[in-house]
C-alpha cells in the first residue's frame, strides 16, 4: 500500500528524451513483472474458464482452447448449480457461519478490547498476556474435546456449534488487534465523557465503536473470510458449508468437474468481492496481524 504510493521526486525536470531512455531501460523489468503477474493469474482464470466449458469438452480439451472458440462458452453449469438444492443450502450455511461468527467476534472482542485498553482492574495486563498466549493454540487442540462435548450435548451438526468454535479461536487475535487500536484513542475524549458522568457502556457504544471503526472493519473482513473459507471445523462437526459440499464431490474429480469447477468459482466470488471492495482494510489487518 504505502510503498506503492512512494514517488521519487526528480531533483530536476527531466527532458523527454531522458524519460524515454529511463522507460526503455526498465523494459526488461517491466516484461519480467508482467510475465510473473500473468503466471499468477493463470490458475484463477483457468478455474473460471473451465467452469464455462461445455460438459462434453471439459475432459477432452484444455480450458485455454476456449479462447480460440469463445462461442462455446456456456453458463449452463452455473444455472444448473442455482437449481441444485444441496449447493444452495451449503451456500446459505456458509453465509450464516461467516456472518454469525463475524458479528459475534466483533462484539465480544470489542468489549474485551475496551476493557483491556481503558478499564482499571487488578491483573489486567497479566490477563491480557494470557490472551496473547492463546493466540498460538492451534485449533487442532480443540477438535477432539469439542467433538465429544457437542456429541454429548447433541448440538453437533448445527451452525451455532461451528460459529462458537470459530469465534473462540478468532478471539485472541481480535482482542489483541482491537485493544492495541483502542489504546491509541486520545485519552482526553474518554476522560471528559467520564467526568460528564457517562457510563462505561455509553462510552463504549458512542465513542469507542465509532472511533475504532477502521480496526473493526479490518477485523470483520478477516473473520468473514476466515470462516467463509474454512473447511476443517465444519468437516469435523458435520456441518455442510460450500467447502464441505465441494469436498464431498472431489472423490470423482474428473467426472464431476463440471460441478466442481463452477461451485469452486462460486465460492470464490464473495471473498473476491470483499477483497476488492475493502482491500485497504484487508491489508491493514494483515499488517497488524503480522506483528503478532
Amino acid at each position: 500500500m504505502a510503498a506503492s504510493e512512494t514517488v521519487h521526486l526528480p531533483a530536476h525536470r527531466e527532458t523527454v528524451a531522458a524519460k524515454i531512455l529511463r522507460a526503455v531501460g526498465k523494459l526488461p523489468l517491466q516484461i519480467f513483472l508482467a510475465v510473473v503477474g500473468l503466471l499468477w493469474l493463470v490458475p484463477t482464470i483457468g478455474l473460471f474458464v473451465t467452469s464455462l466449458l461445455p460438459s462434453s469438452e471439459i475432459t477432452a480439451r484444455g480450458w485455454w482452447t476456449l479462447f480460440s472458440h469463445p462461442s462455446q462458452a456456456t453458463f449452463s453449469h452455473y444455472s444448473a448449480l442455482f437449481h441444485n438444492a444441496g449447493l444452495m443450502g451449503a451456500l446459505k450455511t456458509t453465509a450464516y457461519i461467516a456472518v454469525g461468527n463475524t458479528l459475534l467476534v466483533v462484539i465480544v472482542a470489542a468489549l474485551a478490547g475496551y476493557a483491556f485498553a481503558w478499564l482499571e482492574f487488578p491483573g489486567r495486563d497479566w490477563l491480557f498476556i494470557c490472551v496473547i498466549g492463546l493466540l498460538v493454540v492451534p485449533l487442532q487442540m480443540a477438535l477432539i474435546p469439542m467433538f465429544r462435548v457437542y456429541n454429548t450435548l447433541h448440538i453437533g451438526g448445527t451452525v451455532l456449534s461451528v460459529i462458537l468454535f470459530h469465534a473462540a479461536f478468532g478471539l485472541p487475535f481480535a482482542i489483541f488487534l482491537l485493544r492495541n487500536f483502542f489504546i491509541g484513542i486520545p485519552k482526553d475524549i474518554l476522560e471528559s465523557a467520564r467526568i460528564d458522568g457517562a457510563s462505561e457502556f455509553w462510552i463504549f457504544l458512542r465513542l469507542i465503536l465509532p472511533l475504532g471503526l477502521p480496526a473493526i472493519a479490518s477485523l470483520a473482513i478477516f473473520q468473514f473470510l476466515w470462516t467463509w473459507n474454512d473447511l476443517i471445523v465444519s468437516l469435523t462437526f458435520n456441518v455442510q458449508p460450500i467447502t464441505v459440499w465441494i469436498f464431498g464431490q472431489l472423490r470423482q474429480f474428473s467426472s464431476s468437474i463440471d460441478i466442481i469447477a463452477p461451485a469452486s468459482f462460486l465460492s470464490l466470488v464473495v471473498p473476491l468481492i470483499i477483497f476488492f471492495a475493502f482491500q485497504r482494510y484487508f491489508v491493514q489487518g494483515l499488517l497488524a496481524g503480522s506483528v503478532k
Binding site: 504505502a2 484444455g62 485455454w64 495486563d125 492451534p138 477438535l143 469465534a167 465441494i246 506483528v291
Partner: protein, 446 residues
Amino acid sequence: MSGASITAEPPPQAAPPEAGGEDRSRYRAGALFLLPAFILLGVWLVYPTVYTIVRSFFGQHGYLGTWVGLDNYRALFTTSALTTAIKNSAIWVAVVPAFVTAFGLLFAVLTERISWAVGFKTVIFLPMAISAFATGVTWHLMYTQNPDLGAVNALGRTVADSFSTPGVLSNASPSTTALQPKGGGLLLKTPLQPGGVALLGLTGIAPLDVPQGAQQAVKPAPKPGDIVGTVWRDFKPGGGKPGVVEQGELGLPGVTVELRDSSGKVAQSTKTDPNGTFDFTDVAAGTYNAGIGASTFAKPFGGYSWLGPKLITPALLIAYIWIWAGFSMVVIAAGLAAMPREVLEAARTDGATELQVFRRVTVPLLAPVLSVVFITMIINVLKVFDIVIAMAPEGSQRSANVIALAMWRTAFSGFDFGTGSAIAVFLFLLVLPVLALNVRRFRTET
C-alpha cells in the same frame, strides 16, 4: 489510517481511586466487558487444550480410556503414516518460508520501480482471498497429467517439444523380423552393398498417425553406386503381404533413415519422400545396414504426474507459495515504505550499485520485517490442512500427509482419540516457541 497506528502504546495511568464505591463499579464494569470473551475462551479454547493434553496419555476410546503413558507419542515416531507426515511437514518448513520470504522481498523491491505497482500487487495478492481449499481444486486442474488438459504439463510440453520434437511414428513397429530394434531405432539385418534396395516396412500405425502428405508407397529401382529403399506402412485394409510393397499401402514421409557401415557407424542419413522412398547417393564399396533413426520413434511428452505420490509434495508447495507470496510482498513493502530513504540515497550517492544497496542496506534494514514474515510462515505451514486434503487425489494422500492432516485423519477417520490428541499436542509444542516470542514482544512494548 496507516498500519503504524495499530501498535501498542503504554496503557494509560490509572486514575487515582476517588471513592471505594466507584472503584468497585469500575471493576464490575471490567468484569462484565470481559465476561463473554472469557466464557468463549474458557469453554472452547482453554478447557479443550487442557483436556487434549491429558487425553494424549490415554488409549483410543472413551472419555479418557486407559492410561498408556507415552505410547501415543511413541506411535508418532514409529507409525509409518505419521513419520511420513512429520517428514513432509519438515520439508514444508524447510522450503515454504524461505521461498515465500524471497518472493515477497523480490516483488516488493522490484515493484518500487514500476508505475503499475498497485495493479501488480493486487494480482499477486489476490490468492490470499481465496480459500486454501479452492486453491487445492484450482491447482488440481492446473496439474492434470494429460498435457492436453493440464496447464502446467501443457507448458512443460511446449518446452520439451522445443528441445526434442516427438517422432513422426512414435508407436510403429517392424512388419517383418528382418527389421530389428537397435538403440531406440530399427536396423535391417540384411546387409546391403552399393546398388542395393532396402525395404523398411512398418506396422502398428493408426490411420490418424500416418504423416500428412503420405502417398502410395513405391519400391524404387536399384541405382548403381546408391543404396535406395522405401519406408512404408506395410499394411492395407485386409492385411496385405508383410515385406512386400503393394497397391494401397502408403509411403511414410519425413522418416529419418540411416545408413550404417560394417562397424556400425552412421555413414549417411536422410529423410524419406512422400512415397516413402529414400536415396543414399555415392556410397563407397563395402557392406552396409540400413535402418530407421531413433528420433522417428521418440515418444511425445506425456506430462508429469504432479498429483502422483512422487511429485505431490512439490506440487503442493508450489501452490502454497502461490497463495502466500502476496502476503509476504505486502508486509515487506510496508516495511520498505517505512525505511529511511536518506540511507538508500546516501549509499547510491556514494557510488554503490543497485545490487550492493539491496544486499548491504535494504536487506539488513528489513531484517525485522523479514523475520516476522518467516516466523508467520513457519506457523502457517505447520497448520497446513485444507490444501492437502483438497488437492491430493486418493492415491497420493498418504505420501502428501502433513502433521495437521494426520491429526485429523487419526482422530476422525481412525477414531483414535489418544494418538490424535498426541499429534495435536506435538503440533502445539512445535508452535510454542512463538508464544514465548509474542509474550516477550508484548512485555517490551509496555
